[in-house]
Amino acid sequence: MRRESHGPELLAEFGTVDAMLHAIDALGDSYGEIETYTPYDVPDVDGRLGLRPSRIGWIAAFGGLCGMVTAYGIQWWADVHAYPLNVGGRPLHAAPAFLLVTFEGTVLGAALATFIGLLLLLGFPKLWAPVDEVEGFDRAAIDRFWIAIPALANENDRERADALLHEAGALRTVVVGGA
């Protein structure tokens, strides 16, 4: 799910989306967990990185269900048990009237769960990460596309990965993090 960078990583900077996608293809799946940093949501990255579909929908569904039960429960408790008020002989348990607030409660619960769930899944707020120390990495939010792969202990492998990235069009590569 969430990936913390523990060991050193090899970062490569690309000038275009296509160069970055090409590099991911060139690396194949022999270099461990690849991560990308892009200024906008690039199509086809998920499939190339083999990411599993996000499960945030379940979090939203759970939040919505909680909101729904809570909203209906409060109304039922308040108007049927705690403070029954006879309005022109109408039933105390008036489901059609209760449904409006129940709907709002469902939406509120689902929205809050989605938002909080997203923050938890992404480990936000996370104001610092080792990649931030890389000079020029800030362009990842503007117009540059970065790939990060776990840097390999074996020097030969590392050099091969580095060569592959350069061949695919990397503007430069940097090793970051670790001891």
């Binding site: 799910m1 969430r2 990936r3 989306v17 991560e35 990308t36 940093y37 892009t38 200024p39 906008y40 949501d41 690039v42 199509p43 990255v45 998920d46 990411l51 579909p53 996000s54 945030i56 929908g57 939203a60 909203a71 109304q75 308040a78 108007d79 705690a82 403070y83 008020l85 109408r90 008036a94 009237a97 409006l100 607030v101 709907f103 709002e104 409660g105 939406v107 509120l108 689902a110 929205a111 809050l112 989605t114 938002f115 997203l118 923050l119 899944l121 992404l122 936000f124 707020p125 996370k126 104001l127 610092w128 990460a129 990649v131 800030d138 362009r139 990842a140 939010a141 503007i142 117009d143």
Partner: protein
Amino acid sequence: MAAPPDALQPYPVVGALPDDGSLTRDLLGPNWSASRAWWPLFIVSGAFAVLFIVAIAFTVVKGIGVWGNNIPVAWAYGITDFVWWIGIGHAGTFISAFLLLLNQRWRASINRLAEAMTIFALVNASLFPLLHLGRPWFFYWLVPYPATTGVWPNFKSSLPWDVAAIATYFTVSLLFWYLGLIPDLAAARDAAPGLRRRRVYGVFALGWRGRAREWQHYRVAYMLFAGLATPLVISVHSIVSLDFSITQLPGWHSTIFPPYFVVGAIYSGLAMLLMLVLPVRRIFHLEEVITRRHLDNIAKLILLCGCLLAYSYVCEMFGAWYSGNVYERFAMLISRPFGPYGVLFWIMTAANVLTPHLFWSARMRTNTIVLFVAGVIIWVGMWLERFVIIAGSLSQTFLPSSWHLFIPTWVDWSLLVGSVGLFVFLFLAFLRWVPFVSVAEVKRLRLDVQRGVAERSAT
């Protein structure tokens, strides 16, 4: 970008944009320094916001007797302003949520502006019912909480529905807006001149770095919000309309109210959106980002909503006539068009029913002056509609001996004008400090256009 010319869609969804780096600088540039016109506008609108605060303070200290409200017209400007503002908010959600679900890619460059409009309209909207409570410091009585008195709200009344609807709508709109902002706040963090700005934007960006895993969850979360906000926005104005339609009052007691109000809400909001988008587009030279396609599409939506609204007006009148009920017929067919507020009714009808038909003409749909003026006319027309429905219906009810007119006082006017001032004040602050065009989405849209995948779905 060599898309084949389409007779139905002559304007591109993105114009000739510079590269990503310059585009980011152009779109975020206004956040680093104020333009020349900004300060005077900010101060003038701030003065009107102060007027709003003064009127609120006066109302709270003296009580709502300082308004023109009376019996039978117990609801007047306060509720009119409330319904008007909350309706304006709906167009923002319409653009950000409906159009996202329907894969209408052109929304990308105006959704942020529209969502900001929603938030600030809701700030205004939520103040009016609170003031109308008379003793607003007891507003929490509307919320179910375990009080020592043992008294709970009556959920068969429409007022607790309103509280739930508005609170939910405000929360969801704010989160949706903020969620959309996060990647742009990250761009602002990384593009901002000076450490202080970088820190502030950095805190709000929460540590967004654009990792594939971030985008993956984010995309789904954003779509979920759109899926939640779409039915929500329909429910909110339906509930607002129920405040009226569950009463017995002729002119209010109508089953067409929920859809009629929702359509009117989106209509008024689109009108105000034009009033905001056109100056922003002009002042910040965004013609290549907010293209004529956007103006054309907004105008078409206004035409559609205007036709639906006209249909609702006719249905409302027809229903009153067909019911055979003398009070219904009197309220809708005599009092409303020919009664004391008849002039307002005819102005409203002309503004809301006739104006949109300008937009059958393709030239009118991209003429910025026509669009702006039409926006203002509909914006005012929709306020009049709510006034005619609310105060007009109340002033002449069943018993002629209790008829009474509503005359607004200076406090009523100050609250109305002041709320517009507060809106403009907040909107200017937004333009000054928040990325007001979705930079990340425009970049992505441009990529899709270049790859030829957006045109098919971007109509």
